[in-house]
Amino acid sequence: MEQFLQQLINGISLGSIYALIALGYTMVYGVIKLINFAHGDVYMLGAYIGYFCITNLNLGFFPSLLISMLVCALLGATIEKIAYKPLRNASRIAVLITAIGVSLFLEYGTMFFVKPDPRSYPPLTGFMAKTFRVGNLLITSQQILIIIITVVLMIALQLIVKRTRIGKAMRAVSLDGDAAQLMGISVDRTISFTFILGSALAGAAGILVGIYYNSINPLMGTMPGLKAFVAAVFGGIGIIPGAMIGGYFIGLVEVMVSGYGNSMYRDAVVFAILIIILIVKPSGLLGKETREKV
């Protein structure tokens, strides 16, 4: 039981990271029906920006978090503008291939500048280095921080999407782009905004992983990116709460498989889940069956 609870805490921490990344995948898919494979690399850049803020600029964790989110947001909007916007009327496969190209560009471009060797976040001090003991359970302050920050960001995201004008425009564009234009909504601006939101969340995930796992490298975005994609598909791609549920689910599965089974199998299990969803319920947990419009 204790071991289970311990794994549960670890799983929720890891799941938070996946959920943050999965939100970006799902929102972008919602508005332009693109699986943005460069999204995992924005998360990697978030980790590096956080690293430079903390080590080179000697900033504290929270200012670094904000800067990381901000820079990633700008980066996301720029990527969209340069790489995807010119392809607005191109076939979906062309945009998808472009996304893979952007991903490789970001990975090896970063490697060129920061060298391929992993870097480690400086050891944490003060509150951040504390570990709490509840009975026989160990909870680190990084885990608490990850969980709290993720929840706060998710609430903020929900408020933006549900309450604000631009959030409503986002939902309208994702439901019916033409009808949204007839309301006077600018689809281009809405798409930019979606990239901004998604990338800011990925940036936050990047720096959180930096303080949690310590080690970062230019290719660190690939695997979590793919797993967050699985999470988004699991919850129903295009559906925001689905990405949150999916993220936590994948995080928990991965940790449980490592904890009780063999950690060698954890990636295999995650991708097996993807295959099963695609066979059993391709629209995902919260998705409705839809027929492709002709």
Partner: protein, 234 residues
Amino acid sequence: MLEITNLNVHFGVIHAIKGISLTVNEGEIVTLIGANGAGKTTTLRTISGLKKPTSGTITFEGNDITNLDARQRVKIGISQVPEGRRVFSTMTVLENLELGAYLRRDKAGINKDYQMVFERFPILADRKKQMAGTLSGGEQQMLAMGRALMSRPKLLFLDEPSMGLAPLLVQEIFDIIKDINDKGTTILLVEQNASMALQIADRAYVMETGKITLSGTGKELIQSEEIKKAYLGG
């Protein structure tokens, strides 16, 4: 008010609209009738700015709007109730109306217009908090119309408002269209239900395979033998 001159629209190599010209004067109800695939919806989509024409001009209140995008056209007072209603299904009735007023900033005016829409369509007031996708076809049509009115259009396009509705409801929708027009909104109505459309229209155009083949006042066309044969089942 609206003047289309020599408009051509292509989908790839398909020449969908072949040099049509039509005019809508302020205060009128003008209807565009014709069989399925004649190009009526494409014409509306082009005037709304969703589809770019290959050539031709569109002027609105004397200004050339051919190069404006959809958003700018909403801003100057053109609004459309699209074919198949196209309400935002997983948003509430109220949110749908709110999006109709997306470009407006006058809070007081918007609130007044919610009341105006709810008076015109009382059923929407009862269903304010309900998801638009759960409404019946007739209610969705009303919502789509209310949503279009929320932008305070000078010119309103309606694309097949009677599609898929029970006959009694069709009559009601047409009465409402007439009433909206009486209150000062100019209307361009696209319909397959030619007899209903001609009854309320001041003027009408008949479209066939991308061309306008006939035009005249509603009364004239209702009497026309050709129209009777082709569209009125007589």
